[in-house]
């Protein structure tokens, strides 16, 4: 065992069906966000900025875009010769091929990968969330309590506890109970799906869990409760900061709009904790003399002749003369043609909004999901 060494295992196989068009062709971690990122960039950048040198990315569902986005990990400086980033897909052995069943099973099937790196700790992450976290803080808490596992938690409004896995702790933050999406929760500490394990302990429980034919091989449902029953030292560590699980189109739109608030706590401009992403090598954006651009975030390659207000534009978007984009998120390579109006919308990639067309209402409350085929109100 290499003392102090951490291996991160990033679960990136989720389908994210409630995001509809956004996840039609890609896994949820690959969904574009914040003008130039994909959701998985946050977890990957957190890991890189935390100095974690070895990371396995577990993919399963439609991995093309994710694989080509991640490549060999160059953007996050993970293109190392020894260790670094590896994409771990399901494989075949003499027992035949097996797909990953639950979150725990995905790690179980790749125990070989972890064993070869021989770490002291394994950090389980999810590629679905938008947040900035220094995982060393979690590790420090873990070490300080001499814990077997430490779970990152955050405080959620009491009325929302039924959407989360709730954790009840004693005065020392030691975990005493798990409640899965309780109607009446005893506390409002929600699990973030971020676990710091001592690898030997995790290894033991993955094997145990795998032998249990009735298990769904899921961390939240099976492995962690089993560890609790067997009295392992399990603690929470509370995260304070911006965190968003963009589960629906509405929350996806909101999270993008959050970035336009000058006081937003997900400060993308912090040079000490950059969010890295694969670059498209686009030229700078051009703002035409007939345009008006305020309160917006605009990415490279855009060409703006019209009006853009309170919107997030991804790369290579064209807004033609007289067109108006307001309270909207426009994904890459879309074109808003002459005099078209787009309000309160999420416009997908490569969409053309035809000349003169109007989508949404300037003072409406609904969010519109726009593809080349259709416009759907949420």
């Amino acid at each position: 065992m290499k003392k102090g060494k951490i291996v991160a295992m990033l679960l990136a196989g989720g389908q994210g069906t409630r995001l509809k068009e956004l996840t039609k062709n890609i896994a949820k971690p690959a969904v574009p966000f914040g003008g130039k990122y994909r959701i998985i960039d946050f977890a990957l950048s957190n890991a890189a900025n935390s100095g974690i040198e070895d990371i396995g990315v577990l993919t399963q569902y439609k991995p093309f875009i994710l694989n080509s986005h991640i490549g060999i990990g160059t953007a996050w400086d993970y293109d190392r010769n020894v260790g670094g980033l590896r994409i771990l897909q399901p494989f075949m052995s003499e027992k035949g091929g097996r797909w990953y069943r639950g979150t725990a099973n995905a790690i179980y099937e790749n125990m070989n990968f972890i064993d070869e790196l021989d770490p002291e700790y394994v950090l389980v992450l999810s590629g679905d969330h938008i947040y900035k976290m220094n995982y060393n803080d979690l590790l420090d808490a873990h070490k300080q309590k001499n814990a077997d596992v430490t779970i990152a938690v955050l405080t959620v409004p009491l009325e929302e506890t039924n959407r989360f896995g709730i954790i009840n702790v004693d005065d020392d933050n030691r975990i005493v109970e798990f409640e899965e999406k309780p109607k009446k929760a005893k506390s409002n500490l929600a699990s973030m799906g971020i676990y710091m394990f001592n690898w030997p302990i995790l290894r033991e429980y993955l094997i145990k869990d795998n032998e249990d034919k009735t298990s769904d091989n899921d961390f939240g449902k099976n492995v962690l409760p089993l560890m609790l029953r067997e009295n392992k030292k399990m603690y929470t560590w509370e995260f304070k900061g911006y965190w968003k699980d963009v589960g629906t189109v509405k929350s996806y739109w909101e999270a993008n709009m959050d970035l336009l608030n000058p006081d937003n706590t997900l400060n993308l401009y912090d040079r000490d904790w950059r969010i890295y992403t694969r670059t498209r090598n686009l030229p700078p954006q051009y703002i035409h003399k007939s345009s008006k651009v305020i309160n917006s975030m605009i990415n490279e390659g855009c060409y703006i002749e019209g009006t853009v207000e309170k919107s997030v534009l991804f790369g290579d978007v064209i807004v033609e003369k007289g067109a108006v984009v307001k309270n909207s998120v426009i994904l890459s390579n879309s074109v808003i043609k002459k005099d078209a109006k787009v309000y309160n919308a999420v416009v997908m990639e490569d969409v053309t909004v035809e000349s003169g067309k109007e989508i949404g209402l300037d003072d409406g409350f609904k969010i519109y999901m726009v593809t080349n085929d259709k416009v759907v109100a949420e």
Partner: protein, 374 residues
């Protein structure tokens, strides 16, 4: 396909750029919001399948090493082939220290050993996104020893005086190269770029060293023009020949025309550069931006007109930037005004300060300066 070895050497015209070239060679000048001049040469080569590039640097090597590094942005971080940064020799040679020939000579072993049999020579202060495949076809079909590239220039205003003029015979062979003094309105401008057979290149270098009659490879080519088959290839795309402060400023301003920015940024593949991982640019509710090219990572709260804004620049409330080039991480604080100026990297124009040059002599602020009230 025949692959060539790319050789980038550098025109010694640093003196024409004042403080902008105090610590950097000309090819490292920032250009177009997020690039360096050398990016255009390098990217055009890589986009046309060149996989081995040797950069012969000047004395000011540190910025070059920092920017090019291992060549990763251009996928030139190879074990076999890839990017070779060749610093100048600093000792042990009794021959001239001037010119590029002594540098080539000191690396002849490397040049002879790489697999490529053809060399593309070029100097990155001239931006010309030549279709190198097409030019190669011409080079091979005409069985030339050397093919030099040129562009036909219509210059009624004399903007191109002192550029190099190439005389071409009826069947396209090079007759000679001289200086354009503006006696003709239309002339053929030599692009300081061309293909040359490796064996001819090596012979020219060796002979020049032995005879001591040429310091630059371009000079050696002209001197030996009767010994080899030297013909020409016409490029008819956009050219920027950046040879002094004025042409540097104009070349930036030209990018505000869409046809030119398309030609420079899009033709023959994307321009690759070292990425900085800046987020998108934020325009606040007080921003007023018109006819400007703006890179990522900026926060714009003031007024920007007819300007080129590099990565990570801040323009404060009620500040004005007009007809200017503002390089990376510079800040124009509230109520300040910058007109007809070039701000090098990390300049701060403090609150309320006004600076201005003219369009023909832009005001230049050196890197890292803080301009306050006197």
């Amino acid at each position: 396909m025949v692959r060539s070895l790319g050789i980038i050497s550098t025109a010694n015209i640093e003196n024409n750029f004042g403080v902008l070239c105090k610590h950097r060679p000309v090819y490292m000048l920032p250009y177009g919001g997020r690039y360096r001049l050398i990016d255009f040469s390098l990217s055009n080569m890589v986009n046309h399948g060149i996989r081995t590039v040797a950069v012969y640097t000047g004395e000011k090597i540190r910025s070059t090493m920092d920017h090019l590094g291992d060549g990763k942005p251009w996928d030139l971080n190879r074990r076999i082939n890839g990017l070779y940064i060749v610093p100048p020799i600093t000792q042990d040679y009794t021959i001239s220290r001037y010119g590029d020939i002594p540098h080539f000579f000191s690396t002849l072993e490397f040049i002879e050993q790489v697999k490529e049999k053809v060399i593309l020579i070029n100097e990155p202060n001239i931006i010309a996104k030549v279709d190198l495949d097409d030019a190669m076809e011409h080079f091979l079909e005409t069985d030339a020893d050397i093919t030099l590239f040129y562009k036909r220039i219509h210059d009624p205003l004399g903007n191109y005086i002192n550029c190099e003029k190439i005389s071409i015979s009826e069947d396209g062979d090079m007759i000679n190269i001289g200086l354009n003094l503006g006696t003709e309105i239309d002339f053929n401008m030599y692009l300081r770029m061309g293909y040359i057979k490796k064996e001819v290149f090596v012979k020219l270098v060796k002979e020049s060293i032995e005879k001591g009659d040429a310091d630059y490879i371009q000079e050696a080519i002209i001197k030996n023009r009767h010994k080899y088959k030297i013909n020409t290839y016409e490029y008819d795309g956009h050219v920027e020949n950046i040879r002094n402060l004025k042409t540097y400023y104009d070349a930036n301003m030209n990018l505000l025309k869409r046809s030119i920015s398309n030609a420079v940024f899009q033709e023959n593949g994307v321009v690759l550069t070292k990425t900085k991982d800046e987020p998108s640019t934020i325009y606040t509710d007080s921003a007023q931006v018109q006819n400007s090219l703006i890179a990522n990572g900026c926060i714009i709260e003031g007024k920007v007109e007819n300007s080129i804004i590099f990565r990570g620049v801040r323009v404060g409330k009620n500040a004005i930037v007009r007809n200017s080039v503002v390089m990376q991480k510079s800040e124009i604080l509230e109520n300040a005004s910058v007109v007809n100026s070039i701000l090098d990297k990390q300049v701060i124009i403090t609150e309320g300060v006004r600076i201005a040059g003219t369009r023909s002599i832009p005001f230049v602020v050196e890197k890292n300066q803080i301009i306050g009230r006197d």
